[in-house]
């Protein structure tokens, strides 16, 4: 499986994962997730993302390795933006290619669920001219835990 992991401070290119994963006949399916800055009914004016350089890339690499153990994948791409970004801008791209579509769908959702709960990124939102740290969601923790429970349920 080829992998591409990057943390960048500039806007993401929408077609880049598609181009990079393209393999001229090996894969039949590409699934791409793109996360964007929501305005929350006009409340949020901007988003700022901080991360832990070095650890971020290691965690992302470990998540892709786990995905590769679970599904037959041909390629996986994760690019996450950091710094300050405007409403509607892309925060993260996760894309995978596989021979079959169900593997690609599952792996892409898995990578996002683990990224959300393990990769050292922190968001703050500009609301009313002031920055507020975003709270972690319990639903994200549960989504990541569900993959691990599903895995252990298969063991004797």
């Amino acid at each position: 499986m080829k992998t591409h992991i990057a943390v960048v401070a500039s806007p993401l290119t929408p077609a880049a994962p598609w181009q990079w994963l393209h393999d001229a006949g090996l894969s039949g399916a590409q699934v791409q997730f793109c996360g964007q800055v929501r305005d929350e009914q006009g409340r949020v004016e901007a988003l700022h993302l901080e991360h832990y350089p070095g650890m971020t890339e290691q965690v992302l690499r470990a998540i892709l390795e786990q995905a590769e153990l679970k599904w037959p994948l041909n390629g996986a791409w994760v690019v996450h933006r950091v710094g300050t970004m405007a409403v509607g801008e892309d925060i993260v791209q996760v894309a995978v290619s596989a021979t079959h579509r169900h593997d690609a769908f599952q792996a892409c959702a898995f990578i996002m669920d683990l990224l959300k709960t393990r990769a050292p990124f922190w968001k703050k939102e500009l609301i009313g001219g002031r920055w507020h740290w975003v709270d972690a969601r319990e639903s994200d923790v549960e989504a990541a835990a569900a993959w691990l429970q599903a895995a252990s349920a298969h063991e004797p």
Partner: protein, 84 residues
């Protein structure tokens, strides 16, 4: 010597990005380090107390409070992650 890095809200509450400390030899786990740090530094103690569900990394790998520590380790402390 152990470097302790702080991130996000915890970093802001503690008023610094990192501290480098030399705890006594009795400090051999993350739990003991946190306890010792809180006793040394009131502002850091308050910042940690204000950070529920603290996450920990040792040498850039996620770890628990039980993780053991050795000379030269880099410990990172941070609130739950919110990327993606």
């Amino acid at each position: 010597m152990i470097e302790v890095k702080l991130f996000a809200a915890l970093r802001e509450r503690a008023g610094r990005d990192s501290v480098t400390v030399s705890p006594p030899p009795s400090v051999t786990s993350v739990f003991q380090l946190l306890d010792w740090l809180a006793g040394q530094d009131a502002q850091l103690a308050a910042a940690l107390a204000a950070t529920p569900r603290l996450m920990i990394a040792v040498n850039e790998m996620l770890a628990s409070e039980d993780a053991s520590l050795a000379e030269g380790d880099v410990v990172a402390l941070f609130p739950p992650v919110t990327g993606g």
